[in-house]
C-alpha cells in the first residue's frame, strides 16, 4: 500500500481541499473542549482521521501521512508524557491534576489555560495513538510490532 500512487485524481483533489478543514476543525474541537462539546479525545480522533484520509488518498510514502507515519509513535509518547507532566504541575497548585495556570474570563478560550493544555496533550496522544494503531494494522507487513494501542489517557478528556 505504501508504494501505491494513492487513489484517483478525484479523491486526491477533494482530499487536498478538505484536509485543511478537517485538521483545523479537529484542533478547534480540542482547543474549545472546555467550553463546547468535544475535547482532546474527539479532536484527536478527527485529526487522526484526517491523516488516515491523507494516507488513503496519497499513499503511504508521500504527503503529511508519510511524515506522520514516521513520527506517530514518538508523538504518541510525547503526548502522554506531556499529559503526565501537566498533571504533575497540578501539585504546584495543591493537588494532582489541579488547575495550575491563572484563569481568565469565563466562556473564553483563556478561561482555563491548564485544561486547554491538557486537551492539547490528549489531542496529541489520541491523534498519534489512533494513527499509529491504524498504520500498524494497515501497513502490517512492514511494521511487525504488536502495537499495544494503549488507551487510557483519553479517559480524562
Amino acid at each position: 500500500m505504501s508504494d501505491s500512487q494513492g487513489m484517483s485524481i478525484v479523491v486526491r483533489v477533494v482530499t487536498r481541499w478538505l484536509l485543511g478543514l478537517i485538521l483545523i476543525f479537529g484542533l478547534a474541537v480540542a482547543l474549545y473542549g472546555h467550553l463546547t462539546p468535544g475535547g482532546g479525545f474527539a479532536g484527536g480522533t478527527i485529526v487522526a482521521c484526517g491523516f488516515v484520509l491523507a494516507i488513503l488518498a496519497f499513499g503511504g510514502s508521500r504527503g503529511p501521512g508519510a511524515f506522520f507515519t514516521r513520527w506517530a509513535s514518538a508523538l504518541d509518547a510525547i503526548g502522554a508524557l506531556a499529559f503526565l507532566a501537566l498533571a504533575i504541575l497540578g501539585f504546584t497548585a495543591g493537588a494532582f491534576l489541579q488547575q495550575w495556570a491563572a484563569r481568565g474570563d469565563a466562556f473564553t478560550l483563556g478561561s482555563a489555560p491548564s485544561i486547554v493544555l491538557l486537551n492539547l496533550a490528549i489531542l496529541l496522544k489520541v491523534g498519534a495513538g489512533l494513527f499509529a494503531g491504524f498504520s500498524a494494522i494497515a501497513l502490517f507487513e512492514q511494521t511487525a510490532d504488536p502495537d499495544t494501542a494503549d488507551s487510557e489517557k483519553g479517559a480524562d478528556a
Binding site: 485524481i9 483533489v13 474549545y32 478560550l109
Partner: protein, 162 residues
C-alpha cells in the same frame, strides 16, 4: 505562495465559523494554527487555486452555481419523465468523453458536476478521458452528444480555474 495564502484564508474562515469567538487570543491562535496547516500542506500535488485572489474568477464561480442548478433541475425533469413513462425509455450505458481542461481541480469539479446532474454519473477519470454512465445513451453519435453537454460546464470551469 498564493497556494499557502489561499489555504490559510480558507482555514482561518473555518476556524472562525467553528469557534465563533472574536477575542484576540482565539484569533491569534487560529491564525497560527491555520498558517501551520497551510504551510504543512503546501507540497501536496495540486495546481494553483487562485480562487480567492482574483475577483473575476470569484464572479465566474458564483455565476456557475445557478447554471449548474439549472442543468440539475432540467435533468431532473428528464429523468422523472423517463421513470414515469410507461415504456421506460432508458438505454443505460457508459460513454467516453474527452475534456480540454488542464487543471486537476477543474477536472474534479467537472466530474462532480456531471455526477450531480441526474441521469449521468462519472465512473472514472483517467487523465483527460472521462467515463460517464448515462441513463439514456442516444443511438447516434453518443460521444459527441456527451461532449456537447460538457462544453457549458467546461467553459465556466476554465474561466474559474485557468
Amino acid at each position: 505562495m498564493s497556494k499557502i495564502l489561499s489555504a490559510f484564508v480558507f482555514c482561518m474562515l473555518v476556524w472562525i465559523a467553528v469557534t465563533w469567538a472574536f477575542d484576540t487570543t482565539s484569533l491569534v491562535l487560529g491564525a497560527v494554527l491555520a498558517g501551520a496547516i497551510a504551510f504543512s500542506l503546501r507540497n501536496l500535488e495540486l495546481d494553483e487555486v487562485p480562487l480567492l485572489l482574483m475577483p473575476q474568477r470569484l464572479v465566474w464561480a458564483l455565476a456557475y452555481i445557478p447554471v449548474l442548478l439549472l442543468y440539475v433541475i432540467r435533468a431532473n425533469f428528464d429523468v422523472a419523465w423517463r421513470v414515469l413513462h410507461p415504456r421506460l425509455p432508458i438505454r443505460p450505458g457508459i460513454v467516453r468523453a474527452k475534456t480540454t481542461l488542464k487543471s486537476p481541480s477543474a477536472r474534479v469539479l467537472l466530474a462532480n458536476s456531471i455526477t450531480l446532474t441526474p441521469g449521468t454519473l462519472s465512473v472514472d477519470v483517467l487523465d483527460d478521458v472521462f467515463y460517464i454512465h448515462r441513463i439514456h445513451v442516444p443511438e447516434a453519435a453518443p460521444e459527441a452528444d456527451m461532449q456537447r453537454s460538457m462544453d457549458t460546464f467546461e467553459g465556466f470551469l476554465r474561466r474559474i480555474f485557468e
